[in-house]
């Protein structure tokens, strides 16, 4: 129930908003729900950043996929950090 896509914070403003780049498309987003700095990846829904994306976790999820694809157990997926 919530279309939201990843974007990169490229500019911060005093009023708690900033500019997010979605790959050739830039739009203002409200950042008051996240403590984002320039260069952070955020997930934005209806103009609001709702979380900072953890690039490390993204890599781990891909690694976990790889394990499953090679028929290994999925325990690696459930252990966080």
């Amino acid at each position: 129930m919530c279309l939201a896509i990843p974007g990169k914070v490229v500019e911060l403003h005093e009023d708690g908003s900033g500019i997010v780049d979605y790959g050739g498309v830039r739009r203002e987003a409200d950042l008051s729900f996240v403590n984002a700095k320039v260069g952070d990846w955020v997930i934005v829904h209806a103009g609001f950043a709702i979380e900072i994306l953890d690039e490390e976790e993204a890599k781990k999820t891909l690694d976990a996929f790889a394990l499953v694809l090679e028929g290994m157990e999925e325990e690696k997926l459930t252990r966080r950090g």
Partner: protein, 353 residues
């Protein structure tokens, strides 16, 4: 069921199912009173142009707001639209008529820019505006200016040869929507969605900043190169309702299935990002400088090659084929699953779900 007085709704002008209903139920029945003998391609074909006594003939109205947008304006759009509608039926555009309805108080400097853009674009397409009409109306015209263009064209010199190269006997050589056959390939002349996103980026309420500009341009030179190469069966300019609408019209008029492959559809990263951000399907938004071609299988590679040498055809791709193992229009997604490509039922609007 809940409305006493039936009214025209915005969705009926958006090039999809609702518009088809409006035209079929409230227009055709008044106009198709008798088949006229020298009409080769008439109103009932609902094709991009008609053909009367071997003259191609079409008309197009333009109400885009804002009338200046990244990459173009209503002036350039109005010429390109009609030139492209004539080209995709297999005609060489010959002359245009220009009708303008302008709101009282409209800035003269804007009018000057718009008409100069009409001039430049007609020069680019090598087609003169030969007649026209101008009206001024009371203040309150949405967007401030409406521009309508009509156009006539002559049969393209290579049209017959092109048709012979398809190896299909008989019938008219004009490029009709009803001519698709199993195995024909589908080519798009470049990236999808550029125009739609460029205009949407300016709209209040969901505007955004982008380096995406409209692709608005005449494509008669692209058709010209394809016809000279030979083997073109049908063509359409995917404007209102985009590629989805064009493919569905073909599927219905030729009573065939069409299968396309998501991985082969060219799209700019910015257009994909904007569509994902707004929850819009890139296949449903308008293109104003692209052409979709159906070509016989054996000529597909040659035609692709000549198109890629044309201005605006550099990113051309074969995106699918006419196939009887599907009904309607179906797309194989990047993950291998099949998805229905619907005819759009109205202008795409941003969604959250």
């Amino acid at each position: 069921m809940f409305r006493e007085e039936k009214r025209v709704e915005m969705v009926m002008g958006a090039g999809g199912e609702a518009m088809k209903g409006l035209i079929e139920n409230y227009m055709l029945k008044h106009l198709l009173w008798e088949k006229s003998r020298d009409v080769d391609v008439g109103l009932e074909a609902l094709d991009d142009s008609a053909v009367v006594d071997d003259w191609a003939f079409t008309i197009d109205g333009h109400t885009v707001t804002p009338y200046f947008f990244p990459g173009g304006d209503i002036g350039r759009l109005s010429v390109a639209g009609t030139v492209n509608d004539l080209s995709v039926i297999g005609a060489r555009p010959l002359a245009l008529a220009l009708g303008m309805i302008i709101e009282e108080g409209f800035p003269i400097s804007d009018l000057d820019k718009i008409v100069s853009s009409v001039g430049e674009t007609s020069k680019e397409a090598d087609v003169h505006v030969v007649t026209g009409d101008t009206k001024v109306v009371e203040r309150g015209l949405p967007g401030g200016i409406f521009v309508t263009t009509a156009g006539i064209g002559r049969r393209h010199p290579s049209l017959l040869e092109n048709w012979e190269k398809t190896g299909r006997r008989g019938g008219t050589p004009w490029l009709l929507d009803s001519k698709l056959k199993e195995g024909d390939k589908i080519i798009v002349s470049g990236t999808v969605g550029d125009h739609g996103i460029a205009v949407l980026s300016q709209r209040e309420g969901y505007g955004f900043e982008t380096d995406i500009i409209s692709d608005v341009m005449p494509v008669n030179h692209i058709l010209d190169s394809a016809l000279r190469s030979g083997g073109v069966v049908a063509a359409k300019d995917p404007t209102r309702g985009g590629v989805a609408n064009a493919l569905n019209e073909w599927a219905e008029k030729s009573q065939v299935g069409i299968k396309i492959y998501e991985e082969s559809i060219p799209i700019k990263e910015g257009v994909r990002a904007a569509c994902e951000m707004l929850g819009i399907d890139p296949l449903e938004i308008g293109n104003e400088g692209k052409v979709l071609l159906v070509v016989v299988n054996d000529s597909a590679e040659d035609i692709l090659e000549v198109i890629r040498k044309q201005k605006g055809g550099e990113d051309a791709e074969i995106i699918g084929e006419v196939s009887s193992d599907v009904k309607g229009v179906v797309m194989e997604s990047v993950t291998g699953g099949l998805r229905i490509v619907d005819p759009p039922t109205g202008d795409p609007v941003p969604r959250i779900c």
